[in-house]
């Protein structure tokens, strides 16, 4: 039997990806350019017994998904920059209380309300540094409609596997463009279930590290009772200021991601084997980059592309290796130089990092990238 295909927008694909991953609770507050996620899920979730909640604002929506996740649901919210700013306090709460959830954020211009219908890539730092304190960060940056579908599924899997919030951040172009999508059959793509407790309720501790860095999470309402707080906590979930416990717990929370970078980080290497110039790109900008790299090759320039699919954790190891091989790195991005900072950090001065930064609401076109490739000597 041939697979089901459709012609869909990135946002619509995200909603269907969430359903494939088993999302059964969505809370959000509509905002351009991510509203279509709410539109699809408001129609689809009730059909299978799931819950759709339109909350009074973005903060409440974030709180609602954290609560629902603690009750055992697989949860999603969708938003854009201004909403992401509002959600930050509770994203931090999700990190410290270790609550699996997926935040789908479509990047539009900013700061504040910025340019609601214009594309941007200026939320990538907010994905890591938006909430205060040391905490793990996972952020995926898809570049096509099909990939948005797949990465939303992966985001659910990562959030369950590492018991932490995960962000999926397409730019407005990817979120709003339409392409053909092929749906996987049920069971074809792995869906990771939440690790449930194996001990009886009276022995259960929500942060019991004898089960490893990612302790099992019981669902409220299933007979397990435990304490949840945003304060630094002990294994039983109650607050503590005991130095050695706080230090160990903070380190463990960050280690959940840091020790598993190779499991989390994904990327695409395009024509890199003999490349003198590497364009590092992500999201829709990588599509312009691929076009430019192809034209450069036709003109005899040895250009290649490293496409970031997982922005956080950042692919440090891969970029460091590239920096030792190529003559220059070109980074086109729809912000005033965010990924650029990470690349400079990884390149450690070994090669020049040339940025193309655009925040006027227009995409970075292949000609701009080609011109920059030619500046690398």
């Amino acid at each position: 039997m041939s697979k089901k295909v459709a012609f869909l927008q990135g946002n619509e694909a995200a909603a269907y990806g969430a359903l494939y991953a088993g999302c059964d609770f969505f809370a959000g507050y509509p905002i351009t350019p991510s509203t279509e996620v709410s539109e699809v899920l408001s129609a689809e979730l009730p059909k299978t017994g799931g819950k759709f909640l339109q909350m009074e604002d973005e903060i409440a929506a974030m709180a609602a998904i954290l609560g629902a996740s603690l009750a055992g649901a697989k949860v999603l919210t969708s938003t854009s920059g201004p909403g992401l700013s509002l959600k930050q306090e509770l994203i931090g709460y999700g990190c410290i209380a270790e609550i699996p959830c997926v935040v789908y954020n479509v990047m539009r211009g900013g700061p504040s309300t910025g340019m609601p219908t214009g594309p941007s890539q200026s939320d990538v730092m907010c994905a890591k540094w938006g909430t205060h304190g040391d905490h793990p960060a996972i952020c995926l940056v898809p570049a096509s409609v099909q990939e948005t579908y797949e990465e939303v599924i992966r985001a659910f899997n990562l959030s369950e596997k590492y018991r932490t919030p995960v962000m999926v951040m397409p730019d407005e172009i990817v979120a709003h463009m339409r392409e053909r999508i092929v749906f996987p059959e049920p069971g074809e793509v792995e869906v990771v279930p939440r690790k449930s407790p194996t001990v009886p309720p009276e022995q259960y501790k929500p942060y019991d590290t004898s089960f490893g860095d990612v302790p099992p999470l019981a669902a409220f309402g299933s007979g397990y009772k435990f304490h949840v707080t945003g304060l630094n906590k002990m294994q039983d979930g109650f607050p503590t200021t005991k130095a050695e416990i706080v230090q160990a717990e903070e380190e463990r929370q960050v280690r959940k991601v840091d020790a598993n970078i190779d499991d989390i980080v994904t990327f695409e290497e395009y024509l890199l084997d003999d490349a003198d110039v590497v364009v590092v790109a992500y999201g829709s900008t990588s599509r312009s980059a691929r076009y430019a790299v192809n034209v450069a090759r036709e003109q005899g320039i040895k250009a290649g592309m490293f496409r970031i699919k997982t922005f956080w954790p950042f692919p440090d190891k891969q970029i460091k290796a590239l920096a030792g091989k190529v003559k220059g790195i070109v980074i086109p991005e729809m912000n005033l130089g965010m990924c650029s900072l990470e690349l400079e950090r990884c390149a450690q001065g070994k090669v020049p990092v040339l940025g193309i930064f655009r925040v006027d609401g227009e995409p970075i076109n292949p000609d701009q990238i080609l011109a920059k490739i030619k500046e690398v000597k």
Partner: protein, 181 residues
């Protein structure tokens, strides 16, 4: 590479994004080609310049926006003034002759007929002007067959309006052929 670029432009509310989606769907789902549709519009629900771009190719499409446009539809003077700058030499320009009176200079294949007026008076509803225009663009560009385009139209509109849209598409297709003959 066989990259073909179309742009549907006009004012917000004229249904041009829908027209672009249907063209791309016809190519991608029914014609067996690859297609990407993207759009750009202002914060207004109605009015303001609006455009929808469709890239059609036999192979994978990387850059999803137009580079040099092969065929352009302009449904308002503002859209015609704003969006023809990257229409390629010898490219197709379809305009509504009632609304676009100042035509760009350049080596374009210009086709004009009263699109909105046709929808209103010959099809019977002004609201299907976008489908009249789509029929015309299908005829002029030859990127998808008439049959596949019609399938895409009919699968994209509500049941109650199938006949209306079929008629709009057909009249648009025929008018464009006559106007470009």
């Amino acid at each position: 590479m066989s990259r073909y670029e179309l742009r549907f432009s006009g004012a917000g509310g004229q249904g041009l994004i829908t027209a672009g989606i249907i063209m791309a769907k016809a190519a991608s789902i029914y014609e067996g080609k690859q297609a990407v549709q993207s759009q750009s519009y202002g914060p207004e629900a109605r009015g303001g310049a609006s455009k929808s771009e469709v890239i059609i190719s036999d192979g994978p499409i990387d850059y999803p926006k137009a580079t040099t446009v092969d065929a352009l539809l302009a449904m308002t003077q503002e859209a015609c003034d704003k969006y023809t700058h990257d229409l390629k030499d010898g490219g197709i320009l379809l305009v509504d002759s009632d609304l676009v009176t100042k035509l760009p200079t350049g080596n374009y294949k210009i086709i004009s007929f009263p699109i909105i007026n046709t929808a209103k008076n010959e099809v019977g509803r002004e609201i299907v002007a976008n489908i009249v225009a789509l029929g015309a663009m299908v005829a002029l560009t030859g990127q998808v067959s008439r049959e596949n385009a019609e399938k895409a139209v009919l699968s994209s509109v509500p049941e109650a309006f199938i006949e209306l849209n079929r008629k709009a598409f057909s009249i648009g297709f025929e008018k464009a052929l006559a106007a470009s003959a």
